[in-house]
């Protein structure tokens, strides 16, 4: 069975900054995979190269067995992406947003409305994008990424900035997505989140992957009590911006 994702030696530089400095990893179909790391570790850049949004300086990524760069519309139909900052059309309501995105994939309005209900936003369908709460906006953004029923879903820090209730609420949603058979890749800097959700995590810092494995194994290997301790042990305790 082909891996859902196979990334080989990805590198990206911005001037003197090695944003991503030789990253390789594989994700199996149906897996819930986490990219864990402090701010600036290179998670977003890695994800964007894997998705085919940015051209890697070196290395390449295969999604579902096909290269993600150059842009491949056939592949894009099978992949769903939630960008780090939500990308919404200005002044449009939740329903109008998701229907617009649905149309780009040839998906009917009814299916878009059903997706909105699935993330619990049926009552907010008529609310404009800028009047949704943080959690509602994230759920809408995820719904827009899922509207065409992709096999592979990328979520970049979906829970950052949410209150605890909204985070728990979103976890249930993400578990459901994975349980429905989709491969999910998520970036986060919350340990509890990775521990609860992910089958495997890759701990990243300074553009490199430091360790990959199931959260419990990593903790055992490093004789740490929790993933949080693993993380601190691997990435250091100094304060970061």
């Amino acid at each position: 069975m082909t891996a859902a994702i196979s990334a080989r030696d990805l590198r990206k530089r911005y001037g003197d900054v090695h944003a991503v400095d030789g990253v390789s990893f594989e994700v199996r179909a149906g897996e819930f995979f986490g990219l864990l790391g402090p701010n600036g570790a290179g998670k977003t850049t890695t994800l964007e190269m894997v998705e085919g949004l940015r051209r890697p300086d070196e290395g390449r990524a295969l999604l579902l067995g096909e290269p993600s760069w150059p842009r491949n519309p056939g592949l894009l139909r099978r992949v769903g992406v939630q960008l780090q900052a939500s990308a919404f059309f200005e002044k449009l309501t939740a329903r109008e947003q998701i229907r617009t995105f649905a149309s780009l994939y040839g998906v009917a309005d009814e299916r878009a409305d059903a997706m909105l209900a699935e993330v619990g936003l049926a009552e907010k369908a008529g609310t404009r994008e800028d009047r949704l709460s943080g959690g509602q906006a994230q759920r809408l953004s995820i719904a827009c990424a899922l509207v065409h029923d992709p096999e592979l879903v990328f979520l970049d820090e979906p829970t950052t900035g949410l209150d605890p209730q909204a985070r728990r609420n979103l976890w249930d949603l993400l578990r459901g997505i994975n349980a429905a058979g989709r491969t999910v890749v998520l970036t986060t800097h919350y340990m509890d989140e990775a521990e609860v959700l992910c089958d495997r995590v890759a701990v990243m810092d300074a553009g490199r992957i430091l360790r990959v494995g199931p959260p419990a194994e990593l903790a055992a290997e490093l004789e740490a009590d929790s993933l949080e301790d693993v993380f601190l042990q691997l990435t250091g305790r100094e304060y970061r911006e």
């Binding site: 998705e51 085919g52 949004l53 842009r71 519309p73 056939g74 894009l76 139909r77 992949v79 992406v81 960008l83 900052a85 939500s86 990308a87 919404f88 059309f89 200005e90 002044k91 449009l92 109008e96 229907r99 617009t100 995105f101 149309s103 780009l104 994939y105 309005d109």
Partner: protein, 355 residues
Amino acid sequence: MKPFASLSKAMALGLLRDRASVFFILVFPLMFLALFGALFKDAGVSRATVVQVGAVEVLDEMPPKQRAALDDVLEIDRSGNRAEALEKVRDGDADAAVWEEPGGRVQMRVSAADPVQAGNVGGVLRSIVDRASIAATGQPPAYTLTGGQVEDESLEAIQYFTPGLLGWAVAMGGVFSAALGLVNWRKKRILRRLWLAPVRAGPVICARLGVNMLLAFAQTAIFLLVATVPYYGLRLTGDWWLVIPLVACGSLAFVSVGFAIGAWAKTEDAANGLAQIVVLPMAFLSGSFFPLDAAPPWVRSISEALPLKHLVQAMQDVLTRGGSWSDALPAMGIMLLTAAVFTALAHRLFRWDAT
């Protein structure tokens, strides 16, 4: 819905729900039309003022119809005192003073301060006197001259302002909505999101263009409706409907200019600033707000190089001067050329990301 239709709808709603852009793009030019039309309502024909002292038979005995025609060009005030009348002419309050002396000798005095107006008044009065003399002989005149002005309609302000301001409105709507729309979509990461969807650039660009053309057509319809109400009194000539393809081509050209600005600008403020710098001087130099007939030659040669000048002129020709295809086609060609140049420029400058 197809991507083209749904993206058009998303753009149109985004635009129409933004009060500032509706005001700026649709209402603002209309306010100018209403205001300029009213301010310059009677400014088209500059009538000469003549002070008539006492009775002057050729003027007093004029048939009412001729008298009405005369009123279009001459305003005749009456005065009982010749010295006072001459004083008015000297001060520039009147252009000429006339009185009649025994033996049918009509005397006229003008001021040398305004020789053009003096010449006009002289010509008009002389023709009145000549006609009266011929009529007095009881013979039909041996020679007659019938004439009119080539651009007899275009003297009125509304005939000038409607196409001029409409051209400005089309340019402004195209440049601003395309430039700000592109920067906004980049800033809000919608461009990135579209990259990740199986949609091609064609429907995205055509949606912007389509929305803008519809807006420009709506603007044209409103302009023509307002300008033709009796208060403003716009009179359309023959093939005025050629304004529709002209507006379509103009919209294409100025949306391209807007794309180039939006591709270059990193922020909405920068896009807004550059769009202002482009549109406003261009509108002034293209004769959108006032005629450039009296402008120095170097100004007029700059103006010739501006696409808006050709659009405004062609719209004037077809709307109010009886122009037809031969006036519209060259301007359409210039608009399409402008569109090609700026689309290529936009393509070179285009960026997906703000950083």
